[in-house]
Symmetry: C2
Subunit: 152 residues, 2 copies
DNA sequence: TTGCGTGCAAAGGTTTTGCATGGCA
DNA sequence: TGCCATGCAAAACCTTTGCACGCAA
């Protein structure tokens, strides 16, 4: 059975995931950052463990436009059910969209277009507030979700 | 200057694109189908020409979950400006969404979330009507766009 | 004839896999 | 001690690039 042993490498990966927050990363990012910290970790181990985490829903996995696989920590998999995500094409942060308008859109697409929108597969792409203002990439872009009168 | 010569290979590719309709395809799909027809075409030629077509907006290019680049014919590039697309995860068809509700969503995300949604990058993923009904994959799924009282 | 287009083969980059070793329980 | 996890290297893939030849204009 996989995932039984609690190894140093797994602990390091998990700590890395927590620090990354909403930001996506590639296998290279993870390997280099962990090696910069002085930690030894093999590339295949990173691939294999991320694959495991993706299977259990702890990380999201998708392809960037450049064709490199990107990963992202999902803090609470259950909390991600039923709502959407939007990704900033500049800073790469992924934001939750807990907006009732998305529910309305889902309903509308189903009723009037016969299309069953899948919140887990769909990612809205655009520019977040921080990046539009020429600012630095936000560490955590939770601001983007606040102040919405449609949101629950 | 590129794209000056009208070669046999380009004509074959364009004919292939027309037949594919709304369906996406990989470089492999194109090469194999053309070779099945008895046409000779080099793999690099397919890559290079698709790259050209993508640059001029005649095909859309994106990454599948499996990390393989997918291409899709865009009949009228101008007609695709300013609206969204939804893709059926089963049959692979891509549909236009000319719906006013998407405009409302764009406006809302900008005003209340500070997020500038990009219609060209965003693809809504789900199941189309044909595939939900257990039916065959639709050749052209234009039905999905009809009968919407929000649509222009 | 000119120079863009094509095809082959090689290079480049990313991800997967086989196998021997290491380390958790 | 048993067995999963790890790391290395090789393999497998996909895509890009260099170069000589072919072919449209």
């Amino acid at each position: 059975m996989r995932g039984e042993y609690n190894t140093r490498q797994k602990r390091e990966m998990l700590s890395f995931l927590k620090e990354r927050g909403l930001k996506h990363f590639s296998v290279d990012d993870a390997v280099f950052e962990l090696q910069d910290r002085g930690e030894k970790i093999g590339r295949s181990t990173v691939y294999r463990y991320l694959e495991q985490l993706a299977a259990q829903g702890a990380v999201r996995k998708y392809q960037s436009v450049q064709g490199v696989t990107q990963y992202q920590h999902v803090e609470d998999a259950a909390a991600c059910d039923g709502h959407f995500h939007m990704m900033c094409s500049k800073c790469g942060n992924l934001f939750h969209v807990d907006c009732r308008l998305m529910g309305a859109l889902t309903k509308h697409l189903m009723e009037d277009h016969g299309f069953a929108l899948d919140p887990r597969e769909t990612i809205l792409v655009g520019l977040c507030g921080q990046c539009r203002n020429g600012g630095e990439a936000a560490e955590h872009g939770a601001d983007t979700a606040s102040g919405c009168h449609h949101c629950l």
